[in-house]
């Protein structure tokens, strides 16, 4: 799928490379890691194409559990099997866990001060923007989608309205809009294949 002319797409060179790459990602991810993952793994290291990232993210999101942990496990598994999966998850969690526990121990007394509360609010607002901005950036990957632009836009709009404005539980939205989308995509893929067979 990746269109690299030399046939060798970029990949982690060793388990240690995998571990430290994910540690670096995790330590930059204040208020969530997703925006950093997209920028580092897709844009900088190019271990994943934008389309691969979308597909993996869809799987990571629909399965239970912390999304970025699921995603790192899937990426680690693809390159180094179960050892890669464990290594990637360890990289994602080990140092951040130490830091958050140290912070809890050190800042237990001053967490309620107005300055800290304000800073938390400010970083929270930016973190919200980072997630939404990552979504905006990925819109361009829909161009190659088999369902076509109008259907894609409608599905996005329905999902956004249901979750953000109407607060419908996620499971219902995934079952409803998700099933509809998958059935439609299945039909379209079938048509594309039939056309390909005729030519």
């Amino acid at each position: 799928m990746a269109a690299h002319q030399d046939g060798a797409s970029p990949r982690p060179s060793s388990l240690a490379d995998l571990f430290w790459s994910f540690t670096r990602l995790a330590l930059q991810g204040f208020g969530g890691v997703l925006a950093i993952v997209q920028r580092e793994l897709v844009e900088e290291k190019q271990w994943l194409t934008p389309e691969e990232f979308m597909e993996d993210w869809a799987v990571a999101q629909i399965l239970p559990g912390p999304n970025v942990v699921n995603l790192s496990m899937m990426i680690g598994d693809r390159y180094f099997g179960w050892r890669g999966a464990l290594t990637a998850v360890a990289g994602m969690l080990a140092f951040p866990l130490l830091i958050v526990l140290a912070l809890a121990a050190l800042f237990a007394g001053i967490a309620d001060s107005p300055g800290i509360q304000g800073a938390l609010r400010g970083m929270g607002a930016v973190a919200a923007g980072l997630i939404a901005g990552t979504g905006l950036k990925l819109i361009s990957s829909l161009k190659k989608n088999v369902m076509g632009a109008p259907v894609c836009w409608s599905l996005s709009a329905i999902t956004f309205i249901a979750i953000a404005l109407l607060h419908v539980p996620l499971a219902w939205v995934l079952l409803g809009a998700g099933t509809l989308a998958c059935v439609w995509a299945y039909r379209q893929l079938g048509k594309v294949q039939a056309r390909g067979a005729k030519e």
Binding site: A26, L27, Q28, G29, F30, G31, G32, A35, E43, M54, D56, A60, Q61, L63, G65, V69, N70, M73, W82, M92, F95, P96, L97, V100, L103, G109, A111, D112, G115, I116, G118, A119, G122, M123, G124, A125, V126, A127, A128, G129, L130, I131, A132, G133, L136, L138, L142, N145, W153, L155, T159, F160, I163, A164, V173, A181, C182, A185, Y186, Q188
Partner: protein, 202 residues
């Protein structure tokens, strides 16, 4: 963490803590944070193992610290353990209990979901040429994008959706645009957000 509690947890209680998080793991679609309301019900209201302020500051601290947000679960376990050991001033036993709390809660929330994801993702990758596996990935793409936009929206408007909150929305909107259109390092954006909050502009 002014209002900390002192607890006396038995072996069965620790087991109950582990099994509650094990049972929540497979329900955590969309991330562990979606099960936070149930953790609150169990830990604060039903068992009285945590105070309300311990619960809320665990989530806020994990959001602000680097790393996946699931680490708020580790902080919940940490605080339950501290309470069981008699608080931070009570010596090394409370640290041991706190670490035990971290291990049990994290193991519980992670183990079932990561096992399932590992098997399912492997299967999906091996069968990625099947038409309905491809249909799933293509079909979910616009929904995933909408979920990201919706998550940003909910986080930005969560605590206060009145118009008085406009500086927060402005900050969120501006950072979304900057992420989308520029390659500015994300840490600069977070630092700017933290500072503007520190100085009370939000």
């Amino acid at each position: 963490m002014t209002a900390s509690l002192t607890l006396n947890l038995t072996f069965t209680d620790w087991l109950a803590l582990l099994s509650h998080f094990l049972s929540l793991s497979l329900l955590a679609i969309g991330g562990a944070i979606t099960t936070a309301p149930d953790m609150h019900r169990y830990l604060v209201i039903e068992q009285h193992w945590l105070s309300d302020s311990q619960f809320n500051s665990s989530i806020a601290l994990a959001q602000a610290a680097p790393g996946p947000n699931v680490l708020f679960v580790a902080l919940l376990g940490w605080n339950v353990g501290l309470n069981a050991g008699g608080g931070m001033g009570a010596g090394s036993l409370s640290w041991v209990y706190a670490l035990l709390g971290v291990v049990l809660t994290m193991l519980g929330i992670m183990l079932p979901s990561t096992m399932l994801t590992f098997v399912a993702a492997r299967w999906g990758h091996q069968n990625r040429e099947l038409q309905w596996v491809r249909a799933f990935k293509q079909g979910m793409a616009p929904i995933v994008i909408a979920l990201l936009l919706a998550t940003g929206w909910i986080l930005a408007t969560g605590h206060d959706s009145s118009l008085n909150n406009w500086p927060v929305w402005l900050l969120t909107g501006a950072s979304a645009l900057l992420v989308w259109r520029t390659r500015l390092h994300l840490l600069w954006l977070l630092a700017a957000g933290g500072l503007s909050g520190w100085f009370g502009w939000l």
